[in-house]
Symmetry: C2
Subunit: 244 residues, 2 copies
DNA sequence: CGGTTACTTGATGCATATCAAAGAGGGTGG
DNA sequence: CCACCCTCTTTGATATGCATCAAGTAACCG
C-alpha cells in the first residue's frame, strides 16, 4: 500500500460538512452546481467517512444503500470471474463518484488503495432530493454520461491496443485527471500496484513492468521515488496512445 | 448486409407518431414512464426517420444535435484508432437509445447494419422538456446507469476472457436482449457480420469463425439459414461465459 | 448464372502469458 | 538506527492463444 493522502491533501474542508466551501474537488463532484443553500440540504444527509487502506467500500452484488463522493485518497473498482480472474474497471480519485447503479445492488466492488475519505449519502434520501434540487439529477446524468464515454475509450483500449499503447494511454489518463484536480500534470502518482494496472489494462504484471522499463529505456518517461512517473516525452506518449 | 426488419417487425405503430401506443418497444425506451399526455409533448418534437442499411446516423466528434430511439433494425457503434483499427463499442436494437453525451459532440459513430427506423429528438428541445417532465430525466439517468453496467461487463470480457468465453457471453447477451423485446430467446439473430463481432469482442474474424465452428462441433449451438443461431446447450454457454 | 463479398479452414508467426528466480523497497523489531 | 524480512517489482526463459497470411468455399446479388 501507499502513503496516506489525507494529510497531504485535505479535502472537503476540515472535518465538518458545513465547511464544504473549502472542498478542493467540489468543481468535479456532485455538488458542483449547487449554491450554498442547496449545499445545506445535501450536508444534512451526508456523512464524512474515513476508510483505511485495503478496506472495502462496496461489494459487487450487495444492496446499494449508499452512494459516495471521493474527497481524499484512491480506490480501485473491480469485478471477478468465477475462477478468480480479476478485471479492474476503474480507479477513483478525489472528485469521483461511487455507487451509481440503476438496480438495487452495486455493480462493482470498491477497495481503498490508500486511506480514503468519502462523503457518504443514503441513496434513498439523495433520490428524495431530486425533485427539490433538479440540478442534482442533471449533474448525476452528466457524470454518468462522462463515465460512459470513458468506458467506451477503455473498450477501445482493451480490445484493440497493444501493451505499449495501453500503458501510454493509462499514463496520460492519470496525468489529465491530475490536471482536472488542479495538480501538476507531470509527476504522475501511481497509488496502485503493478497487478492493479495489469488487471485494468488486460495485461499481466510482468508485461506492465517490461513495458514501463521499455518506456524508461527509450526516455519517454522516468521514475521517481514512491512510484511517481515523469512524462519526459508527452508527445511520443500521445502518439503511441492513439495508435499513430 | 441483411434482410430488412421493418416489414417483419413493425414498430412505433405505423408511420404516425400519434400512434406510439402501438410501439412494441415502448417499455424499453425513453418513453416508458410517460402517460399519454406526456407522450404528446414528446411526439411534438420527435421525427420518425428511416435509414438504409450501411448509412451513418452519427459520426464520432460531430456536433450532437439529435438523440434517437431505435424502433426498428440494428446498428453498430464504433470508434477508430489513428491507423484504422476499429473497436465496435456496441450494437443497438429496437428500444435502445443513441446519442447520449455530456459534451456537445457524439462519442461514437453509429452505422445502420440493416434498414433502421428511429425516433429522432432535437437534443436542445428534449432537454428543454426535462423541467416539465422530470420523469424523462429520471428515465435517461436509469438508461445511462444500465449502459454503464453493461460497459463494465464488456470491460471484463475484453480484458480477461478467452475467445470461447467471449463468444459464449456474446450469444447469451443477444439472446437476453431478444427476450427483453418479447422475442423468443432461442434462434438468436445475428444481423452483424463476423468482422463486426470480431471488432466487438477484440478478436479477428478468423478466430470468431473458428470458435463458432468449435461450438457447432461440440453441439452447444447449431446454425440456421440467415445467420440464426440455436442455443442447444444454454447451460454450457453460461458456464463458459462466466469462466467456470 | 456469373461475379463479388463474406465466411471458413489451414499453416505459420508473434505478442503476450506463463513459469521461474533474482533484486529492490519499505516497514518493523531488535 | 540498522538489519532483517516480507512483498512487490524486475528480469529472464519458455510456452501458447490468437493473429496473420493464404487459399478455398459458400452465400448473396444483380
Amino acid at each position: 500500500m501507499e502513503r496516506a493522502q489525507l494529510g497531504a491533501a485535505p479535502v472537503c474542508g476540515f472535518d465538518l460538512p458545513e465547511q464544504c466551501g473549502n472542498c478542493e474537488v467540489r468543481h468535479l463532484t456532485l455538488c458542483a452546481p449547487l449554491d450554498s443553500g442547496e449545499m445545506q440540504r445535501l450536508v444534512e444527509i451526508l456523512k464524512v467517512i474515513d476508510v483505511p487502506a485495503g478496506a472495502s467500500v462496496t461489494e459487487e452484488g450487495e444492496p446499494a444503500e449508499h452512494v459516495f463522493n471521493v474527497t481524499g485518497g484512491a480506490l480501485r473498482l473491480y469485478k471477478l470471474l468465477a475462477d478468480g480472474r480479476r478485471s479492474v474497471t476503474g480507479f477513483l480519485f478525489p472528485g469521483d463518484f461511487l455507487g451509481l447503479t440503476a438496480g438495487d445492488t452495486y455493480t462493482c466492488s470498491a477497495e481503498a488503495m490508500t486511506p480514503v475519505r468519502l462523503c457518504r449519502f443514503p441513496r434513498r434520501r439523495l433520490e428524495g432530493l431530486f425533485s427539490e434540487l433538479p440540478k442534482l439529477e442533471r449533474r448525476l446524468l452528466a457524470m454518468a454520461s462522462n463515465e460512459l464515454a470513458a468506458a467506451q475509450d477503455q473498450m477501445v483500449l482493451l480490445g484493440r491496443k497493444t501493451a505499449a499503447e495501453k500503458l501510454a494511454s493509462f499514463l496520460l489518463q492519470l496525468s489529465r485527471r491530475q490536471e482536472a484536480r488542479h495538480l501538476p500534470p507531470d509527476p504522475v502518482s501511481l497509488p496502485m500496484g503493478r497487478s492493479d494496472i495489469a488487471d485494468y489494462l488486460g495485461l499481466t504484471t510482468e508485461t506492465v513492468s517490461r513495458t514501463i522499463t521499455q518506456f524508461k529505456t527509450t526516455g519517454v518517461i522516468s521514475l521517481q521515488p514512491q512510484g511517481r512517473v515523469v512524462l519526459r516525452d508527452r508527445l511520443a506518449l500521445e502518439e503511441c496512445a492513439e495508435g499513430a
